[in-house]
Symmetry: C2
Subunit: 113 residues, 2 copies
């Protein structure tokens, strides 16, 4: 499977940019990540997400949603709330969340033809 | 120097999320990156940017601007335009750009007190 950026969706849509630096504590992190993945994918307004992490450095995750209602459902999910609390207690040294409405987007894919 | 996410600014502000997969071609890439850095930092409405790349995988760069005018100045900069063209020719396998207005943001920094 070749890696591809998430596509450009039809604006307007929402994006949540979560930038973070992790602690060394991995306890429960992969399991919680997998569960959060399941929950967000069950959200009918969820469009996609993508993540990158520089080893030993910054991680950036961007999640895309169709509208404010679907993003609010994700934000208010009880398991997600518990995971965020756990994140502040154990997994994150620091983070910033930026939430906004996408007004334009476009993509490029190299033509190997 | 410890790595920190860019702070949460006072909304509204603009963010441009550039997600990409690189080709193996490094020719001219670091130099152009450094020059683009200089140019964007000279933009009075530039608030900051941050980048993460999973080795062999996705890269995500997010740049933050005070308003549409400052983002437009960056987009229309002639050297930046030439760099984008070069990027499509040589450096990027694929990319997506999402531009939007941030409506809310917040940050967390662990208290080591």
């Amino acid at each position: 499977m070749s890696i591809q950026p998430v596509q450009a969706f039809e604006p307007p849509y929402l994006m949540a940019v979560f930038t973070n630096v992790r602690t060394p504590d991995e306890t429960g992190y992969p399991e919680t990540n997998a569960r959060m993945n399941e929950i967000v994918r069950a959200n009918p307004g969820f469009l996609g997400y993508e993540s990158a992490r520089t080893p030993g450095g910054l991680g950036i995750t961007v999640a895309y949603f169709r509208d404010h209602a679907s993003l609010a459902a994700w934000r208010e999910d009880m398991e997600h709330q518990a995971a965020m609390k756990r994140g502040r207690a154990d997994w994150y040294e620091s983070y910033t969340l930026h939430v906004g409405t996408v007004e334009r987007s476009h993509g490029f894919v190299r033509d190997h033809g």
